[in-house]
């Protein structure tokens, strides 16, 4: 381990300020989720009352369950499609329209969510599709697929092309070479891509509210509509749980991508 350089007083102060700016609101939310008082802004001592309340709130639980299902299925589909797109872009021969395709793939990254949501809504209405679980899942897949493609493609780009050639030279047909050599090497990036897609889907409000139908609200939609009627301390408890879940997923994702970048660097000394 390299010795970490000592920070100057100025650096410590600016770091503390920056972190406070980012995390103080969340910290307050977490603390208030353990508030015993019915009033959000008045401290009434420690309690798990609102967690208890949440687990007895059927509508809320249903919304949370809906969100989880959407997140898992959209992340899985997005990972599949995004990985295929990344492979096509970085491995395929230089096919016609390749630049256009990669540009189009990444467009949703910068597209305002309102526009993505609205255009999907128009599409579903035009197709006369019944809005609910599947429409939200499809919408989230379009949103998150490009993130997966970016993560996987950067890994593929750093991968030595001759590894696949070596596998073919040693008796693999192109498909087996991909499965035996490329897939294990990009697996961490695929996992990281899935996690990213999962969290993006879990906290999306805008696209979900455009594309969902009556009776199938996701957790963010549910929370948002509750808040409009006045903030109940129960919301704090739910948000704390969501934060905990996302924190866990992000930590796993970053560990996976770290593993993915440390592997394959063949020149690394012992």
């Amino acid at each position: 381990m390299r010795k970490i350089a000592r920070l100057s007083r100025f650096n410590v102060a600016s770091l503390a300020l920056g972190l406070a700016f980012l995390y103080l609101p969340i910290l307050i939310l977490v603390i208030y989720s353990f508030n015993a008082s019915r009033l959000v802004t008045v401290w009434g001592g420690w309690s798990l009352r609102w967690y208890h309340e949440f687990f007895n709130d059927r509508a809320m639980i249903e919304a949370a369950w809906m969100s989880l299902r959407v997140a898992v299925s959209s992340a899985t589909i997005a990972t599949l499609l995004g990985t295929l797109a990344a492979v096509a872009l970085s491995r395929g021969e230089r096919f016609r329209g390749r630049t256009l395709f990669s540009g189009m793939l990444y467009a949703p990254l910068v597209m305002p969510e309102v526009i993505t949501g609205l255009s999907l809504l128009l599409l579903f209405v035009a197709l006369n599709a019944e809005r609910g679980f599947w429409t939200v899942t499809i919408a989230h897949t379009t949103l998150t697929m490009c993130f997966v493609a970016v993560v996987v493609q950067s890994r593929l780009g750093s991968l030595d092309r001759s590894l696949e050639e070596a596998a073919m030279d040693l008796g693999c047909d192109p498909v087996r070479a991909f499965v035996a050599v490329t897939l294990p090497l990009i697996a961490p990036a695929i996992v990281a891509g899935w996690m990213l897609a999962f969290t993006l889907s879990l906290d999306d409000l805008v696209i979900a509210s455009f594309t969902t139908g009556p009776g199938s609200a996701t957790l963010p939609i549910r929370i948002y509509s509750e808040v409009r009627l006045g903030v109940k301390p129960e919301i704090n408890a739910i948000c704390t749980l969501v934060i905990a879940l996302i924190a866990v997923v992000i930590v796993i994702a970053s560990l996976a991508s770290k593993l993915s970048s440390s592997q394959g660097e063949s020149a690394a000394p012992l």
Binding site: L163, E165, A167, M168, D169, L170, G171, G264, E265, A268
Partner: protein, 389 residues
Amino acid sequence: MTDELPKTHVAIGATDGDAAAAGQPLLRIEGVAKTFGTFRAVDGVSLEIKAGEFFALLGPSGCGKTTLLRMLAGFEAPDEGRILLSGRDIAQALPHERPINMMFQNYALFPHLSVRDNIAFGLKRAGMARAEIATRVAEMVALVKLEGLEKRKPDQLSGGQRQRVALARALARRPQLLLLDEPLAALDKKLRESTQGELMELQRRLGMTFIIVTHDQEEAMTMADRIGVMKSGRLAQVASPRELYEAPRSRWIAEFVGDVNLFDGESKLRDGHRLVIGTRDAGALVVAEPREPVGAGRLAVAIRPEKVKLSRRGPVSEAGREKAINRLDGVIADICYLGGTTTYKVKLDTGGMVQASVANSARTDVDAYSLNQHVVAWFTPDDCMVLQS
């Protein structure tokens, strides 16, 4: 320039199976060409390689040697021509369908697999039995002296060790032909030299056919039985190392392989078995008549530096007096001491420069020349090469 093979190949269809026994070359490349966009990377190469031969493809970067190798391995399909391995045309076969293995320049070891699994990779694909794989891997590990490192991952190995794993992996399937793409380029000089010796020994012991691609002429000269020099997608000359050095086919090859003094000349005069060529920088030079008759026009006389002798006075032999040898007066303009030899640059009175490489056969410097000393540089007609420019 290329050795044009006769287009009517005899008896190839008739002799399937063991081509070597039938006196056929193991590998026969016929008019192979490959174009990338508008760039003709390989331009009509024909070549025959015998079983058990150590062949080197030598050339500057971009000359097409790697493309040719990749076509042999199956990573590129030739646009024209045929590649016959033991009489079977494999030009369009996929890499995994060829009894050929390749050692990659960057080794291309699988980073997620151990040394053992890297070596066993090709054997598993071949459907070999477990016990047999274990035996073969152990044999390969012993062959390249990697005992004790079987469980390491590639990133836990040194450059030289990785090179050995790559070699063992490529050899494990016992290919009919092993291709080596700049196999020693990543090693430092000392390790490279010892590995050259090991590769040669290995090739002789296994009796396998090796084709190596290199841009390093010394490496090619050291290891190969025959060398094919490539330039702009074509084979400029295919010859043994000695022939390549002593009888290069063109001015370009003479300059590419080793150091050479070149004197441009034009006029030509016959004098018995000798030619007299008038050069701009060194006056009239007497040369032995080359085996292949030279046409009229611009010529160059080439002489290797180690064949240029220096002396304080003119050579005393009878031949010298009869002017059958070339004698050039000049002063020492530059001295380059290299340990085993010293290279002197002599500024000739006629205006040109000539390089002489002198072996330092004694520890003392009594025989050494000093700067600005008057010397005579001389060489025999037989040591001169006449090249068409």
